[in-house]
């Protein structure tokens, strides 16, 4: 019973930070587009799903902004906000860095997971947040994604993962590497049960995240111009010593090389996801 109380407290705490995250991110009244230098009132940009109205540049979203932009209002219930990162390799300053980003983002780690509805359809969802340690995947990120996938399998509902990650988290060493396998075995089981998994790659999806769950959706989508790739551009340039094309490792580059099903503008994303989910619901496709 004491334990139940404890869990409740934690759940309440988990909701609060989300509200906090909006007010805490220090943003000016105006935001300048890094691509075309257009200046837009920050509030207006938010209404435009953080897409530049002049050049369609997609600004990074926080995990909470993503949820708000996609899910039916009031349906999202987050999971596993109580999991806490440890410092298994005893890396200097690691704990403090994680703590600082937790305060900055209102998240317990670099991914927000849960269940909710998109256009009336129940889904499980994991949204990575690049504002938290570059969205890198350590034990907690791997565990949260795995639990979300297992939840989707258990409930027989589609799984959606929004990737935004620099890859595996260095400070947890080989434990981070193994999260690639952990999430993969869970996704395999989800797939073996005949269930849908949609991967949506956003800026950036690289390294160990690109080389695990992000690339193996039944349907792989990406946002325009998103950086997606396995090895870093600099590493490749040093290895092959050839000039890489301007659009190398962008969503459009991947689409052209057969690695993606579609590149979807953020404004069209909810509709696209809703249609895909409907087309995977037997007998209800016509509705």
């Amino acid at each position: 019973m004491l334990r139940d109380l404890f869990t409740n407290v934690k759940k309440q705490q988990a909701i609060m930070p989300n509200a906090k995250s909006k007010s805490d991110v220090p943003e000016g009244i105006m935001t300048k587009c890094p691509e075309c230098k257009h200046v837009e009132p920050t509030k207006e940009l938010g209404k435009l799903l953080k897409v530049c109205p002049k050049c369609d540049f997609h600004f990074k979203m926080t995990a909470q902004e993503r949820i708000d932009s996609l899910m039916d209002e009031g349906t999202f219930v987050s999971m596993d906000d109580h999991l806490a990162t440890e410092n298994p390799l005893e890396f200097p300053a690691y704990t403090a860095k994680v703590k600082k980003d937790a305060e900055k983002t209102g998240l317990n780690e670099a991914v927000l997971t849960g269940t909710g509805k998109i256009d009336g359809n129940e889904v499980a969802i994991a949204v990575m947040d690049a504002h938290f340690r570059m969205g890198s995947m350590g034990s907690v990120v791997g565990e949260k994604i795995t639990r979300a996938v297992e939840k989707a399998t258990e409930l027989g509902i589609p799984m959606l993962i929004f990737s935004a990650s620099g890859g595996a988290r260095m400070q947890e060493g080989v434990l981070s590497l193994m999260q690639m396998a952990k999430t993969s075995v869970a996704l395999n089981r989800h797939s073996e049960n005949g269930l849908l998994y949609i991967s949506i790659m956003t800026y950036p999806t690289t390294g160990g995240v690109s080389a695990s769950f992000a690339s193996v959706g039944d349907i792989n989508l990406a946002e325009p111009k998103a950086l997606i790739g396995f090895a870093g551009r600099r590493v490749i340039e040093q290895t092959v010593r050839e000039k890489l094309p301007e659009d190398f490792q962008t969503a459009e580059f991947l689409l052209a090389h057969g690695q993606l099903d579609a590149v979807v503008h953020r404004v069209d994303l909810q509709d696209m996801l809703s249609r895909i989910i409907r087309l995977h619901t037997k007998g209800e496709a016509a509705q």
Partner: protein, 317 residues
């Protein structure tokens, strides 16, 4: 003459001295057998001291030793009737991953491993054991083939990582690795992976979703090379030695983290000093693993692999 590693120098010097004395006794009519015996005793002690207490960076040097036995060497020692099978049936044949069928103690098995070169020419051909997507896709093709015929799969991991290059990205390096992770999860035959040299990052893991994972005593398994870690975390690749320590990449480290099942002991000083004996050490472990796994049915094998990876991670609730 084996290439020497810096930490071996005291051993090499002592060996040279013993050799000198032996030659001296042969050319001159003096009896130095007592001195030689003493020095030999000292040599054994010194070897045990140095080889028996290798630090992380010394193990990295052994794991990277140019004469360290490769997948081909172990295939020759451990399997009969080996037939190499080539190609991914889609793009090409990547020489950085080799595979085929053979028999182990009379039972058919599929063997797949990263393949480094032993000299510059061969290393260029094999891109230094760093595979392209077609290498991983060949591996997956051979795994699916093994599954069809009910053969156990034995993987040998020995790579710095997947090849970082333009062509690799264009052909879907990420997808090729990711696909292997997912597909290996549901294989209905026993899968055993042995890290025989360097196990670098996703490029290594793509042959590593196994029921049993072993590491040779001086092999390493890591999320990034020590050089890569140093340049990211210290902004200077000169700190590779410190990074190797910090990243906890040795076989004892991984055993402690409960990621691998067992350490396969190495010949004193490293497998390259006696590849035949090294293969024998591996044979014992393989025999036991195959016998244990043969007790599990298809569902049991898949569940066993699920449980193995499901529990990896350190966090608090």
């Amino acid at each position: 003459m084996k290439k020497t590693m810096s930490f071996e120098e005291p051993i090499i010097k002592l060996r040279e001295k013993i050799q000198e004395l032996k030659e001296f006794t042969e050319t001159n009519e003096v009896d130095l057998s007592d001195e030689i015996r003493n020095l030999n005793d000292r040599l054994i002690k010194l070897e045990n001291d140095i080889y028996g207490n290798m630090e992380t960076w010394e193990r990295v040097q052994v794991a990277r030793h140019p004469e360290r036995p490769t997948t081909y060497d172990y295939i020759g020692e451990l399997f009969e009737d080996f037939i190499e099978l080539h190609g991914d049936r889609a793009f090409g044949d990547d020489a950085a991953i080799v595979g085929g069928i053979g028999s182990f103690d009379g039972e058919p098995v599929t063997i797949i491993g990263h393949q480094r070169g032993k000299d510059t020419k061969e290393n260029v051909k094999r891109t230094f054991g760093m595979p392209h997507p077609e290498g991983y896709r060949k591996a997956l093709r051979l795994m699916k083939q093994a599954e069809k015929f009910g053969r156990p799969i034995i993987c040998m991991i020995d790579t710095k990582g997947a090849y970082p290059g333009r062509a690799a990205e264009e052909r879907g390096q990420s997808e090729a690795i990711a696909r292997n992770l997912v597909e290996m999860a549901s294989l209905t035959v026993p899968v055993i992976s042995i890290v025989i040299g360097e196990g670098g990052s996703g490029g290594a893991l793509a042959l590593g979703v196994a029921n049993r994972i072993y590491m040779l005593e001086h092999s390493t398994y890591s999320v990034i090379s020590p050089e890569g870690a140093a340049s990211i975390l210290w902004k200077d690749s000169a700190y590779s030695k410190e990074a190797a320590e910090a990243m906890k990449i040795t076989a004892p480290d991984l055993l402690k983290m409960d990621i691998i099942d067992e350490i396969i002991p190495e010949v004193l000083g490293g497998g390259h000093r006696d590849p035949k004996q090294q293969a024998k050490n591996m044979r014992t472990v393989l025999t036991n693993a195959l016998s244990e796994l043969s007790k599990l049915d298809a569902d049991g094998l898949v569940q066993d692999r699920y449980d193995k990876f499901r529990k990896i991670g350190v966090f608090s609730e």
